[in-house]
Structure formats: structure tokens, C-alpha cells
């Protein structure tokens, strides 16, 4: 390249750099154009279109979409008791899974954050982290095998004259609690790490018993982190259709959406609004409780 070409090439970049220099608004605009374009137009736009699609109808004969305003899908959702049952079942399981995970996760997170040695802490973080990111489907598959009639759970319980839950709502609750547990442990762990040890010492020095210290100092300070974890356990349970399909014969919100997506899109869309509304309400409460600091 000749020196002129270099100078030419440089000057374009330079001129752009010069354009951005001292113009923070322009910089922000340039930085945000891509991400906001994708998330607002692409993602939020799709969510808005989903809302619109919920007001369409499907012709029962031809199966073709009629894209005119109608409340038919919502009427079906409200009038058919089966859908009410499905929504209640899904939200109940989501709540149960969230509570179960919080109860199991807290002692583990507490041990990791406040008791374990540095080395142990590092090992435990990795031990919890690895299954979090790996192979959702594989884990459900494993539970399907374990819960089957001739599986390891029944085999282990047989000497005691017991049988396992096999497939059903209990299995869904158990497997979902399993799947989302790391999502609860990690935010609580991070939240507990943030509590200065001096606060705990102060409470102890002032004569509080460990239980009082836990109840009056540790729990209030770590509660937002528990809420942060619960966002994931709750949301993931609401939308899961693979687990119910693999370890139960029951229908959850996700199954109905999945089964209707190609035959009755408006009904699927209307039903998808349920988890959206529930989660937005949940997120607003979570934000009030300060959970967003811990995500």
C-alpha cells in the first residue's frame, strides 16, 4: 500500500473517531443501535405480535388463520375448566418448586459462603456451576430412567416396601426442583458473600444466639438474593414442556402451547400470555424487593 492509501484509510477511521469525540450522545446512540434494534424491534416486537395473534381465530374447517379481531381464544381459556386446571397446576408446581429449591439451596449456599475454607469454597462453586450449564435434556432423560417402574428409585425403595412416585405431578415437582436448584444456590451464595463478616461478628458480640443472628441479620440481608433465584426457578417451571412430557402424562401450560402451535396458533398465543403476565407481575415485585441487584 502506498502511503497515500494508508493516509486515506486512516483518515476515514479518524474522521469517524473525531465525529464521536466529545459527543457522548452520539457514542451512546452508536453503541445502543444494534442491541436495542435486536431486543426492542426483534424481541419485544415479536412479543407484541404474539399479543396480536392471540386475538386471531382459526377456521375449524380449513384450519386457516383469520386475522381479524376476536376474543374467541380468551373465551375458550376462561370457559373451559380444563385450561383453568392446567394454569392452576402449573403455577402451583412452580411455587412448590421455588420453595423446595430455596429450602435446599440455602444451607448449601450458607456453608459455601460463610463456613467453608477458601479451597472448599472454590471446589463447591465449580461443583454447583457445572451441572447448571450442562445438558438440561440429559438430566430430564436421566430422571425419566430413574423414575420408571423398573428404575433405580423403585429398586432402592423396594426393600422398605415402598414405591417411588413414578410418573405424575410428584415426579414433575421433583425433577424441576432438581433442574433449577443451581439457579437458586448461586444467587444466594453471592448474596451471602456480600454480607460483611463484621456484621455477623457484631451481632454475636452483642449477645445474639446463632439463631437470632440468622433471623435478624443474615436472613433479611440475603432475602433479595433468594428472590433473585426464585425468578429463575419460577419462570423456568412455568414454561417447561419437556419435563412434564417426559415424566408425567399431565398437561402443563407449556404442553398446551406446544401442542397447539401449528394447529391453533391464536390459542397457543393467548395461553403464552399467561406466563408473560405472571412473570411481569413477579418481576415487578422482585424489583421492589431489590432482587435485581443479585441477578
Amino acid at each position: 500500500m502506498t502511503t497515500e492509501a494508508v493516509a486515506e484509510k486512516r483518515s476515514v477511521g479518524r474522521r469517524l473517531a473525531g465525529l464521536f469525540h466529545g459527543r457522548p450522545r452520539l457514542q451512546v446512540g452508536a453503541l445502543l443501535a444494534g442491541p436495542l434494534g435486536w431486543l426492542v424491534i426483534g424481541y419485544l416486537g415479536s412479543l407484541a405480535l404474539l399479543l396480536v395473534a392471540a386475538f386471531w381465530t382459526v377456521s375449524p374447517l380449513s384450519g386457516e388463520l383469520d386475522k381479524t379481531l376476536s376474543f374467541e381464544s380468551f373465551e375458550i381459556l376462561f370457559d373451559e375448566p380444563v385450561y383453568r386446571d392446567i394454569v392452576v397446576r402449573t403455577v402451583t408446581i412452580a411455587a412448590l418448586v421455588t420453595v423446595t429449591d430455596a429450602v435446599i439451596a440455602f444451607p448449601i449456599a450458607f456453608y459455601m459462603a460463610k463456613i467453608a475454607s477458601r479451597r472448599m469454597k472454590a471446589i463447591l462453586v465449580v461443583a454447583v456451576l457445572l451441572p447448571l450449564w450442562s445438558s438440561y435434556l440429559v438430566k430430564v432423560l436421566s430422571w425419566r430412567t430413574m423414575l420408571s417402574a423398573d428404575g433405580i428409585i423403585n429398586w432402592a425403595l423396594e426393600p422398605f416396601g415402598l414405591t417411588g412416585p413414578e410418573f405424575g405431578n410428584t415426579a414433575v415437582w421433583l425433577v424441576m426442583s432438581y433442574l433449577w436448584l443451581p439457579f437458586m444456590i448461586l444467587p444466594i451464595y453471592a448474596g451471602l458473600e456480600r454480607i460483611p463478616n463484621s456484621l455477623i461478628s457484631a451481632s454475636e458480640d452483642l449477645g445474639a444466639s446463632p439463631l437470632t443472628t440468622f433471623r435478624r441479620v443474615i436472613l433479611p440481608l440475603s432475602f433479595p438474593a433468594v428472590v433473585a433465584g426464585s425468578i429463575f426457578t419460577f419462570s423456568l417451571t412455568l414454561g417447561d414442556y419437556i419435563t412434564p412430557r417426559l415424566v408425567s402424562n399431565n398437561q402443563f401450560i407449556g404442553n398446551v402451547i406446544y401442542n397447539n402451535i401449528s394447529t391453533n396458533l391464536p390459542l397457543a398465543s393467548a395461553l403464552a400470555l399467561v406466563p408473560i403476565v405472571v412473570m411481569i407481575a413477579y418481576l415487578l415485585v422482585a424489583r421492589k424487593l431489590g432482587a435485581f441487584e443479585h441477578i
Binding site: A17, G34, I104, K114, S135, V138, L181, P210, S235
Partner: protein, 293 residues
């Protein structure tokens, strides 16, 4: 915290039970991959290594693996660019609606995956009239991968003081030079970690993928899902599943190592590198700096 020996032991027991709960299903699955019989009966009548060569020879599983790698790589690349841009804006600038950006980025993983899936499915098939292909899968994956990159990079940017960038600008570096020699080196490991995690997330995804994938294509989780109901395929599915677990653990472990090593020293080390890079470029910067006054 001072706890009685009994309480500490109780806590240890809880941790032990928790870890057993987490790992027993994975171990059981691994054992099934060596199961000599193709039923789910426990205990397995015998062990064999036969399923692994069969799994590797399984043509559709291999194609699905390649598809997964493609989808993961492109989705990660998009997420890296968009996540980094958004985190730079939020960490280094003040503007109206800044807090909303974090909310917006988190939304695709805070809302159930099925919502993202149905929404994109509707947009592609009904509104835009696009056929579902690998492209639509990638769009879905990139959307929820952005948050992973964003979180990693913004955490790093908050630790590295903006004064390094100001110093660079004061010394006469223009916008690109500051980015290239100061900002980028300081967030290099955060980018790598975010990228690895985004890839792992995409590689494993099935909830959204199911709604955005075309009939003729399969990612590896989709292949597993479509085959696990066929009982004669089950041992091969188990073997593929074990391979998937091992493969997806690698990027996560690497990502953890990357962010951990930087840990407390992140600011110092990252900044140190930026400093050295700045010095390497010293000549040019110096002449410019003297030219300004």
C-alpha cells in the same frame, strides 16, 4: 461465623445431601450408557462399551452435532457483539433509561423460554413469512445469549476504572485507539468467558429451538428428544447424552477458570496490559500528544 460443632455438622450433612442430589442422576445416566441391555431395568444386567462406537457412527446424531456447533458459534458471535455494545453503553455512559437496558437484556431469560419460542415462531411464520431454518434458530439463540455476554462484560467494566480510558484520551488516543489498546485488553477474559457460556447455553437449548427449527433440521438436543421415545435407540441416546455432558462441561469450566483467575486482580492485570499496549503504541501517541498544545 461461630457455630456449634453440631450445627456445622448438620450444615455439612445438608451440603452432602444436596451434592448427592445434584450428581446421582448424572452418575446413573453415565452407568446406563454402558448398559449391556437396552431396557431401563435397574441394576443393569451387564456392562458394555458397544454403545459409544454406535453413537459416534450414528449419522443423524453427527449431523445434529455439526448443526449445534454452527448454531452455537454464530449465535455466540452475535451475542458477543450486541452484549459488548450494550455493556459499554451502560457502564461508560449516563443516559435516560439506562436502568431499563439491563431489564431488557435479562427479559429473554427471565421470561419462560417457551414465550420466546412462540413469539419468534409467530413472527417468522405468520408475519414475515419466513420458513423455519437454522437461521431462525440462531436468531432465537442469540436473543437469550446476549445477557450472558452482557453480564460478564459489564461486571468487568465496573471493576476497571474508566479513568484508564480517560487517561488514554488525555494522552491523545482517539476513540478507536482507546478501545483497541485500553478497553478491549481489559475485558478480554470477560469476553472469552461470556462467549464460552453463551455457546454452552446455545449448545444445550431445546425449549426455544423446538419452536424455531425447520422440519428437516436437528440440533443435538432435538435429536435426543426425537429419539428417546424409541426404545431400541435408547442406549445410543444415553451414550450421546454422556458425550454431550462431557462436551458442554468443558466450555463452562474454562469460562469459570478465566473469570476466576482474573478475579480480584482483574483491574490490575487487565489495566496493566492496556498500559503496556499503550506504551507499545507510544511513539504515535506521544507525537500526537505534543501536537495538541
Amino acid at each position: 461465623m461461630r457455630l456449634s460443632r453440631r450445627s456445622t455438622n448438620l450444615l455439612r450433612l445438608a451440603v452432602g445431601i444436596g451434592l448427592a442430589f445434584i450428581y446421582i442422576p448424572l452418575i446413573v445416566l453415565a452407568i446406563y450408557a454402558f448398559n449391556a441391555s437396552n431396557t431401563t431395568a435397574w441394576p443393569p444386567p451387564g456392562l458394555t462399551l458397544d454403545w459409544f462406537p454406535k453413537a459416534i457412527e450414528e449419522e443423524f446424531a453427527r449431523e445434529a452435532f455439526v448443526t449445534s456447533i454452527k448454531a452455537g458459534t454464530i449465535a455466540t458471535a452475535i451475542a458477543l457483539v450486541l452484549g459488548t455494545l450494550a455493556s459499554l453503553a451502560v457502564a461508560r455512559h449516563r443516559f435516560f433509561g439506562r436502568e431499563t437496558i439491563s431489564f431488557l437484556v435479562i427479559l429473554p431469560i427471565a421470561l419462560p423460554g417457551i414465550v420466546t419460542g412462540v413469539a419468534f415462531n409467530n413472527t417468522f411464520t405468520q408475519v414475515l413469512g419466513i420458513d423455519l431454518t437454522l437461521f431462525t434458530v440462531i436468531v432465537g439463540h442469540a436473543t437469550f445469549c446476549i445477557v450472558v455476554v452482557y453480564n460478564n462484560v459489564i461486571a468487568r467494566l465496573r471493576r476497571v476504572s474508566a479513568s484508564f480510558e480517560e487517561a488514554s484520551a488525555d494522552l491523545g488516543a482517539h476513540t478507536w485507539q482507546t478501545f483497541r489498546f485500553v478497553t478491549l485488553p481489559s475485558m478480554r477474559t470477560a469476553l472469552a468467558a461470556g462467549g464460552l457460556l453463551a455457546f454452552a447455553l446455545s449448545f444445550d437449548e431445546i425449549i426455544v429451538t423446538n419452536f424455531t427449527i425447520g422440519p428437516g433440521e436437528e440440533t443435538l438436543p432435538i435429536w435426543i428428544f426425537r429419539n428417546l421415545f424409541r426404545s431400541q435407540q435408547l442406549p445410543i441416546v444415553n451414550a450421546v447424552a454422556v458425550i454431550v455432558v462431557l462436551l458442554s462441561i468443558i466450555p463452562v469450566y474454562l469460562a469459570h477458570r478465566l473469570t476466576r483467575e482474573e478475579g480480584g486482580a482483574a483491574g490490575g492485570r487487565g489495566a496493566g496490559r492496556g498500559d503496556r499496549a499503550g506504551k507499545a503504541e507510544g511513539g504515535g501517541v506521544e507525537t500526537e500528544a505534543t501536537a495538541i498544545p
